[in-house]
């Protein structure tokens, strides 16, 4: 009797497992299908697509589309622009945010909480309210249509959010550690550099992965402070590519793959940090 029941239970568990993999597998395939499609399209020749249609089975294989998007489509320059903007932005934003969060979380600064929320509030503003003034201001400052303008606005707009997240993290570090350092004669700089920053490394790693993709993927700020095609980052260049190679889907697809590759690489390499970062940012 018991043997019969347990074998029935086993069968039911097996069925549940199969059902789970079937459901989750189907969902994953559905989600990955568009990605597979763009990769396949990027490897097809133009003649194949124009003869058989975009939605047909591939009958050709070429890497030439990447070459075309890379040099003729200006993706190489655009990718370099993107990295020139993104890397310093991530470093400077996180450095500034860590400094502010350190000050707010470890010292009795007057109006501590109000300042923290003011900085967070700035980041939550809809960017639309800032677009026109930022564009006009960068003209006045003589940096319109230069990469430093884009770097500046990305840092200024992003910093508030990172301050808020790092504040929460640094506040959880026990006060005794800092007191011990003070007793040993450490100044604020040493406390910051030798104690708080190393202890905040998990949060900093998570935020780096996150901010890299955010800044790299931005379009709106780029087209607000930049005008020349030669200065545009990869997102804006991708829209340009769409206009330059109208209905040459093989080249456009190759361009999309190039534009997505860096963030996908960051994601695959730092997946854990990435997911942690998204959850850090959520106010509970």
């Amino acid at each position: 009797m018991t043997a019969l029941r347990s074998s029935a239970a086993l069968r039911r568990r097996r069925a549940a497992t199969a059902g789970f993999h079937l459901g989750a597998g189907a969902l994953s395939v559905l989600w990955l299908l568009p990605i597979a499609l763009v990769v396949v399209t990027s490897l097809r020749s133009f003649d194949d697509i124009s003869a058989h249609g975009l939605g047909s089975w591939p009958r050709s294989f070429t890497l030439g589309n990447f070459q075309q998007a890379w040099s003729d489509g200006g993706q190489q320059r655009a990718l370099i622009n993107s990295l020139i903007v993104t890397v310093p932005c991530v470093l400077v934003t996180l450095a500034l945010a860590a400094m502010a969060a350190f000050a707010l979380s470890r010292y009795e600064v007057p109006f501590r909480r109000s300042l923290l929320l003011l900085m967070l509030g700035g980041n939550l503003l809809p960017p639309q309210i800032l677009l026109i003034p930022v564009s006009k201001m960068s003209e006045l400052m003589g940096v319109y249509d230069t990469l430093p303008a884009l770097i500046g606005v990305q840092i200024g707009f992003g910093v508030g959010f990172y301050v808020f997240v790092l504040y929460g993290f640094m506040r959880a570090i026990p006060a005794e550690i800092q007191q011990a350092a003070v007793v040993d004669g450490a100044g604020p700089w040493q406390i910051f550099w030798r104690i708080i920053l190393p202890l905040s490394r998990p949060a900093l790693a998570a935020l780096s992965a996150l901010s890299f993709t955010w800044i790299f993927n931005d379009l709106l700020w780029a087209i607000t402070v930049l005008r020349s095609d030669t200065k545009m980052p990869i997102t804006a260049a991708l829209i340009g590519l769409q206009g330059q190679f109208v209905s040459m889907w093989n080249v456009i697809a190759a361009g999309s793959v190039i534009a997505a590759a860096p963030t996908v690489a960051v994601f695959l390499r730092f997946q854990r940090h990435f997911v942690a970062g998204l959850n850090l940012g959520a106010v509970k």
Binding site: M99, G122, P188
Partner: protein, 311 residues
């Protein structure tokens, strides 16, 4: 080394802690003030000051070249008669409901399905999450290819005998907006799923055991244990969704630029084209103020929650 730090903690010279608030020195050292002021200045220069200007510009008529002309609330009065504004406002609400509602539902559903620690679940989670790291522009182009008249979507419809549904999805006023929502959803669901996964992980399993003992079925457990326990995550998801919806720009701009005939126009795209293509900077600022007002409730409640948590 770790052992060495322990005795120091009780070092007699350590300052007497003043309750929970004793975090550091009482008087703020100048370096610490500088640490705070530099980022604050950066944000003031690029955010607070422009924001104030933005509100002021909304009360002006300005082409960006000649001097701005003060018109008071004239721009807002103009909106009342602006057909395109009405379309954009309706579309924005529709976007909020469809994009927001569906991404919350699908994200929760995916999280419920993928919360169990089984073999292979990491792959499924990664698959759903992967689009989150794509730029919205790249996402848009991927889907634009799918939507082409000779694209995969129409091919699939053809092969299952639904040829009558074949369509130029992005070029038709009736379908453009929905065709734009789908890619945005595809990218957002994984993000919402991650938030819910963390929330589900935080629920004490004892609660489920207790409910089971009391004879609660699957649905009852979901209804009376899971949902109430997810309340704080729901609040987070709601804020994220509303803020993201009102910011949505890239995907619409890359796919349709708000067209055809403004049928997929959102307030954000209308604001951008008014300001930077029609060069009506005052009216554009006023549209931005409308977006701000819509977002204000969410921002305020987010900040209130953050304020409570901050100490």
């Amino acid at each position: 080394m770790a052992v060495l730090t322990a005795p120091e903690r009780t070092s007699p010279a350590a300052p007497r802690p003043r309750g929970r608030r004793a975090r550091g020195a009482r008087r703020t050292p100048p370096l610490v003030l500088a640490f705070l002021l530099v980022p604050l200045l950066a944000e003031s220069l690029w955010v607070f000051w422009p924001a104030l200007q933005g509100f002021y510009l909304a009360l002006n008529k300005w082409d960006g070249v000649s001097a701005p002309e003060f018109v008071g609330l004239g721009n807002f009065a103009e909106m009342a008669h602006d057909e395109v504004f009405r379309t954009a406002a309706v579309d924005t609400v529709l976007w909020l409901v469809l994009f927001g509602g569906l991404s919350a539902l699908l994200g929760l559903g995916a999280a419920l399905l993928l919360q169990q620690e089984r073999r292979g679940v990491g792959f499924y989670r990664a698959a759903l999450f992967l689009p989150v790291v794509f730029s919205l522009v790249a996402t848009a182009l991927v889907w634009q290819a799918i939507y082409q008249p000779d694209g995969v979507l129409n091919r699939i419809l053809e092969s299952v005998g639904l040829e009558s549904l074949r369509h130029a999805w992005l070029a038709d006023q009736d379908t453009a907006l929905y065709a734009v929502i789908v890619p945005a959803l595809w990218r957002q669901v994984g993000y919402v799923m991650v938030l819910y996964l963390a929330g589900l992980k935080g629920i004490d399993p004892v609660l489920y055991e207790a409910a089971k003992v009391d004879g609660a079925g699957r649905w009852q457990r979901f209804r009376h244990v899971t949902l109430p326990q997810l309340r704080s995550v729901n609040a987070v998801v709601l804020s994220v969704i509303i803020i993201d919806s009102l910011r949505s720009f890239d995907v619409v701009w890359s796919l349709t630029r708000g067209g055809p005939y403004h049928s997929s126009e959102l307030l954000s795209t209308y604001m951008y084209s008014t300001a930077f293509q029609s060069l009506r900077l005052g009216y554009g600022s006023a549209l931005a103020v409308v977006i701000f007002v819509l977002a204000f409730g969410v921002i305020a409640s987010y900040l209130v929650r953050a304020f409570r948590e901050a100490d």
